[in-house]
């Protein structure tokens, strides 16, 4: 029998490599291998702001004389693509990383800590707390943020005025009261738009609701507390279930409404309130993209009875791979690229500012809120002070763990089941908690 089948490490290697080849295809790996041969930095992003990234890469190459092979893949397939590349040993030096993947990628040994690179960590003091926390895992920092945002509460000012309200709701109880009045007045059949379809965005929507109700899904020690009636997610889930089934202020179709469809529905004027990513405010107030342009305002996330204006924040960062960190020169060059994108380039936060000005995406750098150009641009479509105020309430997702992807499947189903009346709130949260505990035990 061949050694490849009998020797454990060879067998594992063969399995991993074959699986990776099957997924990635020989073409991609071939291209990547050629890239390594040229001794350039291999830089992977998802397909967002491609032209902006390319321009900034070109400026980096000019400044430092370090060639960069820039590649991108669609967001929807990015995790699978990168995991396949890592497993297959394809050359990757710097990559965009979602906060949700950090434990998985760090535990697998694909990402390297950047604690030893002061040119990266020196920016921490100017970065929002939830962003710093989101880049850390088991006491180590794994990158530098270039984009962050949070779940925001928006309202249609015109609809509120029409219903006789002079200010937006500050609590979830007020949301029910204002929505009920609007529903009765025929202003909107379902005044609140919630996206509860089972997609990657769902955890962000759920976390915002749970945090603002003063609850947690998982505590700081990593224990599942979502089913705890006092400190868990029960109040938030019960509120959603009642909003759909009792008050009927949220459409039962929320379980089939994804983030993008929710945005479309809100921008077409069907709703008075919406939970949407903050960066969407630009398109919502753009007459070319929205029928309610000029009417959308941001308010602080409504608070639950025992809650606050807390919301969930998310962030993406530049991570350095373990293979880049292994080589001192390569690691140093990768750190330069990370700083160029996540930190200052020629003394300024150029990339984050470019992303904001080009597509309205958020940033975790506190000082950028005071940048005159940023303020002037933002004031054209919304209130930057409100945006900053809410960002201070943003918290990192408490469910980010190596088993997050597996648990997320069960948790999403649990929430949908409760909303659709297929299970009680307690049963749904119990099944979510059990799944978390089981996966945690498995490691």
């Amino acid at each position: 029998m061949s050694r490849i089948w009998t020797h454990p490490s060879s067998r594992r290697g063969f399995l991993r490599t074959s699986a990776a080849m099957g997924l990635a295809g020989t073409g991609l790996l071939g291209l990547a291998n050629r890239a390594q041969a040229a001794d350039a930095l291999n830089y992977y992003t998802w397909s967002a702001a491609v032209d902006t990234v390319k321009a900034h890469v070109a400026a980096f190459e000019k400044k430092y004389g370090i060639p960069v092979n820039y590649n991108n893949a669609p967001w929807a397939q990015f995790r699978d693509t990168m995991v396949t590349k890592f497993v297959g040993g394809a050359p990757v030096d710097v990559a965009w990383v979602s906060d949700s993947w950090l434990p998985e990628w760090a535990d697998a040994g694909w990402l390297a800590p950047v604690d030893g690179y002061p040119e990266i960590t020196k920016y921490n003091a100017d970065v929002d707390d939830f962003c710093n926390q989101s880049m850390k895992y088991k006491g180590h920092q794994y990158g530098l943020t270039y984009y962050s945002d949070y779940m925001a509460f928006f309202y249609d000012e015109e609809k509120l005025k029409k219903a006789g309200f002079t200010k937006p709701p500050e609590t979830w109880e007020e949301v029910v009261a204002q929505s009920t009045k609007m529903k009765q007045a025929g202003i909107s059949e379902y005044p609140l738009m919630l996206s509860m379809a089972r997609e990657t965005w769902l955890i962000e929507f759920l976390s915002a609701l749970v945090f603002s109700h003063g609850g947690r899904l998982v505590d700081d020690a990593g224990n599942a507390v979502m089913a705890d009636p006092a400190h868990g997610a029960q109040a938030a889930m019960q509120w959603v279930v009642d909003a759909v089934n009792k008050h009927k202020i949220v459409s039962p179709a929320c379980v089939e409404t994804g983030e993008l469809n929710g945005l479309k529905a809100f921008s077409s004027g069907n709703h008075a309130f919406a939970l949407i990513g903050r960066y969407r405010i630009r398109s919502l107030n753009d007459p070319a993209q929205s029928q309610i342009a000029g009417r959308v305002r941001q308010a602080l996330m409504p608070a639950g009875p025992k809650g606050s204006h807390a919301t969930v924040g998310w962030m993406r960062f530049h991570g350095m791979t373990a293979q880049a960190a292994k080589d001192k020169t390569r690691g140093a060059n990768a750190a330069k690229l990370i700083e160029w994108f996540g930190g200052k380039a020629d003394g300024k936060y150029q990339f984050q500012k470019m992303l904001f000005l080009d597509i309205g995406s958020g940033f975790g750098v506190k000082s950028l809120f005071q940048d005159p150009e940023v303020r002037a641009a933002y004031q054209k479509y919304s209130d930057i002070d409100m945006a900053e105020k809410q960002q201070k309430f943003a918290r990192k997702k408490d469910v980010v763990a190596p088993w997050f992807g597996e648990w997320d499947e069960v948790n999403g189903t649990a929430w949908q089941s409760a909303i659709l009346g297929k299970s009680t709130v307690a049963e749904a949260l119990k099944s979510s908690a059990q799944s978390w505990t089981k996966l945690r035990k498995q490691g």
Binding site: R11, R12, L15, R16, S18, A19, A20, G22, D80, V83, T84, F86, V87, E104, D107, A108, G109, E189, A197, R198, E199, S251, P252, A253, C254, V255, E256, T257, N261, K264, A265, S268, N270, P402, G405, E406, E409, G412, T413, Q416, S417, I419, L420, K422
Partner: protein, 298 residues
């Protein structure tokens, strides 16, 4: 002499045939046989891409894990429901369409061409189109029913767990009916006209001719369509991915979706491969039983 020569030619022919077939056999071995064998091999390992340092050989644990999961059995039941709904509808509609197109009437050729349109549309485009039609906020279905006064407010379609599976089956049927119709029409065209003539002479009316001539003669076509569509329905993934992603609340979590979740979301290749093998086995057994049942009567 002649016998030896013939033997020589025969051997030569066989060797030539093998030589000409060799490249294709090699290609098939690489692209078909190896993946099939290798995926079975993978199904015996706890291969998770996210835990690359530990890939233990677990024998049939992945299969045991699948069988012990209640979601697997509900997925089997849902897949069976979807398959029965879809294949029954396809058989009935395709038979009616084939009967219609078997008649001579004005516009038959145009109708035949139009019938092929759904078949020509890729499944992804088909899914996106139906997603738009079924949307509860701005969907064409709600718009149509509302304008016709069948409903007084917009309905929830895919978000209603009782409607999810039938609606996906409907989109599947729409796409699959053309091929089934063509297959049945071809079989129908091969029925000798004499049989109908003889039946008429015997005094059989239209219904009796359909029942005693057309239907029995269509059996090979039915068998082909049933096997093909059953296999398609059991393995179908695209519409589930585009329309519902297995939701809401697992209402459309079928076997093919389970394979996708295990393999590409959880990146658990071992369990994913085990599930894929189980689907293949179920499909094979069903096809085999259909052939055994219907083939006997051919």
């Amino acid at each position: 002499m002649g016998g030896a020569w013939r033997q020589h030619v025969s051997d030569y022919d066989q060797k030539s045939a093998m030589l000409f077939l060799a490249p294709m056999l090699a290609v098939l071995s690489v692209v078909a046989v190896f993946p099939v064998v290798y995926s079975f091999w993978i199904s015996l390992f706890d291969l998770r891409l996210t835990r690359p340092r530990s890939v233990p050989f677990v024998w049939f644990d992945n299969y045991a894990h699948v069988f012990a999961d209640p979601l697997f059995w509900t997925s089997v039941a849902r897949t069976a429901t979807f398959t029965v709904m879809a294949v029954s509808a396809i058989m009935v509609i395709a038979t009616l369409m084939a009967l219609l197109l078997n008649e001579e009437f004005r516009g038959r050729r145009i109708l035949s061409a139009v019938l092929l349109v759904p078949w020509a549309i890729p499944y992804v485009a088909d899914g996106l189109m139906w997603k738009w039609i079924y949307d509860s906020g701005y969907g064409a279905l709600n718009g149509l029913l509302y304008q016709l006064d069948f409903i007084d407010k917009y309905m929830v379609w895919l978000g209603d767990t009782r409607k999810t599976l039938p609606l996906i089956a409907n989109a599947f049927v729409w796409k699959e009916v053309p091929l089934a119709t063509i297959l049945l029409l071809v079989t129908m065209k091969s029925i000798p006209a004499d049989l109908y003539g003889a039946a008429k002479v015997d005094g059989a009316n239209v219904w009796q001719r359909f029942l005693h001539v057309t239907l029995p003669a269509l059996r090979p076509g039915f068998m082909l369509v049933m096997i093909y569509e059953t296999m398609m329905a059991i393995r179908h993934f695209d519409l589930f991915f585009i329309l519902t992603e297995g939701g809401p609340a697992n209402a459309s979590h079928v076997l093919a979706w389970d394979v996708y979740v295990e393999t590409f979301r959880k990146l658990s290749f071992g369990t994913g491969a085990a599930l894929a093998y189980l689907i293949a086995l179920i499909t094979f057994l069903l096809a085999f039983s259909i052939i055994r049942t219907m083939g006997k009567k051919l």
